[in-house]
Amino acid sequence: MVAYVMCMALLGLGIYCVLMKRNLIKIIVGLVITEYAINLFFVLISYRKNGLAPIFAADAPVAPETMVDPLPQALVLTAIVIGLATTALIVALAMRLYEKYGTFDIAEIRELKG
């Protein structure tokens, strides 16, 4: 239970970081924290104490009740890959923004309004 609460606290921290910070890099860090909080949550719900690898083999009979659920791990890996792609793109955008504006402060990067 504590682990779930900590996980949600991490999620809250990430969203706080995205909303409140003015530095582009800190916003990106906040995004990454948010993504990872969800990934952690996903892994947590599939965690089983003393669980075994979910392999059905003829010579090693294992009861399904003691196996861990393999699906969330695969899904989290996919989610991490997606997160990587998004983060790489956003970092590249932040670097191009720095090149154009000479600052990472979002208060000074605001040509668009209205």
């Binding site: 999620l11 969203i15 995205v18 582009l24 916003i27 995004l31 948010t34 993504e35 969800i38 949550f41 996903f42 719900i45 659920d69 699906l71 969330p72 899904l75 996919t78 989610a79 997606i82 792609a85 998004t86 793109l89 956003i90 955008l93 932040a94 191009r96 923004l97 154009k100 504006y101 990067i109 605001r110 040509e111 668009l112 209205g114």
Partner: protein, 501 residues
């Protein structure tokens, strides 16, 4: 599985293959990006028209990827709503690909544009066709990441800023969607949408369903730019190159936002009266706020972007009513908005191509020099404002009648009011940009090249003839199956699962 439905995965595979072949061979064959871009979208259009036929033969067909039967493997589900959305998305994509052949000449890395464009199309097609919730999320992200990159394509200051904002907001939205999927998986131990529906019907979890619905509304609402979550759209859509603005406003917000939201809320979680009233309220709010913000804009593309928010409101209001007539109106308006909004963005791109400005105050009298652009823009403007007999009139009329039938007189009034304000705002566009005396600066402005003209004219013809789709005979084929798919609600699960066995 019948042999007819064997082509279903090709609708994703063809654009995907096109995107990577362009990336591989662009240096060897110079005209390849244009050719493949148009060819792949054309094949996509043909396949989606085929899917309309497929739905007539068999209302729900399920394709199991890798021959793993669902719910174990990933399933692709083709029903009336999917076929309807596929036609909408691929028709607009074809027109836009045709348009970009000439328009994108000014940009240096044309192959990157076509590659990203096809990647985005593949993402949208798979979001529409998939029957698996996590698969939906993955391809939603593929389409979204491609669209972030496309918004920043011009790499000017404002484009980068808009893309950054869009990417951050979009990622937060995706996070909400992923959290909702995780919660559903934790509760039902399955990711297949039909199977989730079945599991929730067997052991209802009302609190979880409500919370997950809220997360989905926030997540997909961010992608659809519904009003409390709309802040990124007026920056991102105008900053992109015009074909991409047309694609984003025309179909992306609908495929990733409205379609996914409706599919999940109606067919998986089940529409309750609470959710229905939230949808209608958000719809009405977007409708009114969007149009009020639009009317004061002087930047042509920004004005159009605010109207996208407003029109998405109509779609949500119609679908949120939950009555068959309301859903007909909502879906029909979704199709119509795709057509006229992409046409309007392509027109604004044509104006920018010819004059180099987007500021309405600097334009004037362009109708004399650019007759095709001006007349197609006039058709689209009347259509979006809901002037009979153009297509926008019919869909708005159906939505308002459906609201009155459901005794939601307030919403009907706001819908009518927003329509009048839309008309006012587009008369402003016509007056300042196209009519009146020709500005001195624009004496030698020339009409845009052939491919751009062709795609604008095609879309304008669809605008004029769109109302035909409501005639009996055509209506059942195109709209009826989609409405049926949404209105059946959670019977979706039974339909899909019986198809598997």
């Amino acid at each position: 599985m019948t042999t007819a439905s064997a082509v279903i995965p090709l609708i994703v595979a063809v654009p995907l293959a096109g995107a990577f072949i362009i990336a591989l061979l662009n240096q060897k064959i110079p005209r390849l990006p244009d050719l493949l871009g148009v060819l792949a979208t054309c094949v996509g259009l043909l396949l989606s028209l085929w899917s309309i036929y497929l739905v007539q033969v068999q209302p729900t067909s399920v394709y199991s990827v890798g021959n793993w039967p669902p719910p174990l493997g990933i399933a692709m589900v083709m029903d009336g709503l999917s076929a309807f959305m596929l036609v909408t998305v691929n028709a607009i994509a074809f027109a836009v690909a045709l348009y970009s052949v000439d328009y994108m000449e000014r940009f240096t890395a044309k192959w990157q544009f076509h590659s990203l464009f096809l990647l985005m199309l593949a993402g949208m097609n798979n979001v529409i066709i998939t029957g698996d919730l996590f698969n939906l999320f993955v391809f939603l992200e593929i389409a979204a990441v491609a669209s972030y990159a496309l918004v920043a394509f011009g790499t000017e200051r404002h484009a980068l800023e808009a893309a950054f904002k869009y990417a951050v907001m979009g990622t937060i939205g995706s996070t909400f969607i992923l959290l909702a999927i995780v919660l559903l998986y934790a509760n039902t131990s399955t990711l297949n949408m039909a199977d989730i529906g079945r599991a929730l019907a067997q052991s209802p979890a009302p609190h979880l369903t409500l919370f997950v619905s809220g997360l989905f509304i926030a997540g997909f609402g961010l992608k659809a730019a519904v009003v409390p979550f709309h802040a990124w759209l007026p920056d991102a859509h105008p900053s992109a190159p015009a074909p991409i603005s047309a694609m984003l406003s025309g179909v992306l917000i609908k495929a990733l936002g409205v379609y996914a939201l409706c599919r999940v809320l109606f067919n998986v979680l089940g529409l309750t009266s609470q959710i229905s009233s939230i949808l209608m309220f958000l719809g009405a709010l977007s409708m009114v706020i969007g149009v009020f913000l639009a009317i004061g804009q002087w930047d042509l593309k920004r004005l159009l972007a605010y109207h996208s928010i407003s029109q998405i409101g109509y779609v949500l209001l119609g679908i949120g009513l939950g009555t068959p007539l309301g859903i007909v109106g909502g879906l029909f308006h979704l199709f119509n908005h795709s057509v006229f909004k992409s046409l309007l963005f392509l027109n604004s791109g044509a104006v920018e191509y010819a004059t180099g400005t987007r500021d309405l105050q600097k334009m004037g009298g362009l109708a004399a020099r650019m007759p095709v652009t001006a007349s197609t823009n006039f058709v689209a403007a009347l259509s979006i404002a809901g002037v009979p007999p153009l297509n926008g009139f019919w869909s708005k009329l159906i939505i308002i009648v459906a609201a009155i039938q459901a005794e939601r007189y307030g919403y009907a009034f706001w819908a009518a009011l927003a329509s009048v304000l839309t008309l006012a705002s587009f008369m402003k566009v016509m007056k300042y940009a196209y009519w009146g005396g020709l500005g001195d600066a624009w004496r030698d402005v020339r009409e845009v090249p052939g491919f751009m003209k062709a795609s604008m004219v095609v879309l304008a013809v669809v605008c004029v003839l769109g109302g035909v789709l409501l005639l009996p005979g055509l209506r059942e084929v195109f709209l009826g199956a989609g409405v049926e798919a949404l209105h059946q609600g959670t019977h979706y699960a039974a339909g899909v699962l019986s198809e598997v066995k």
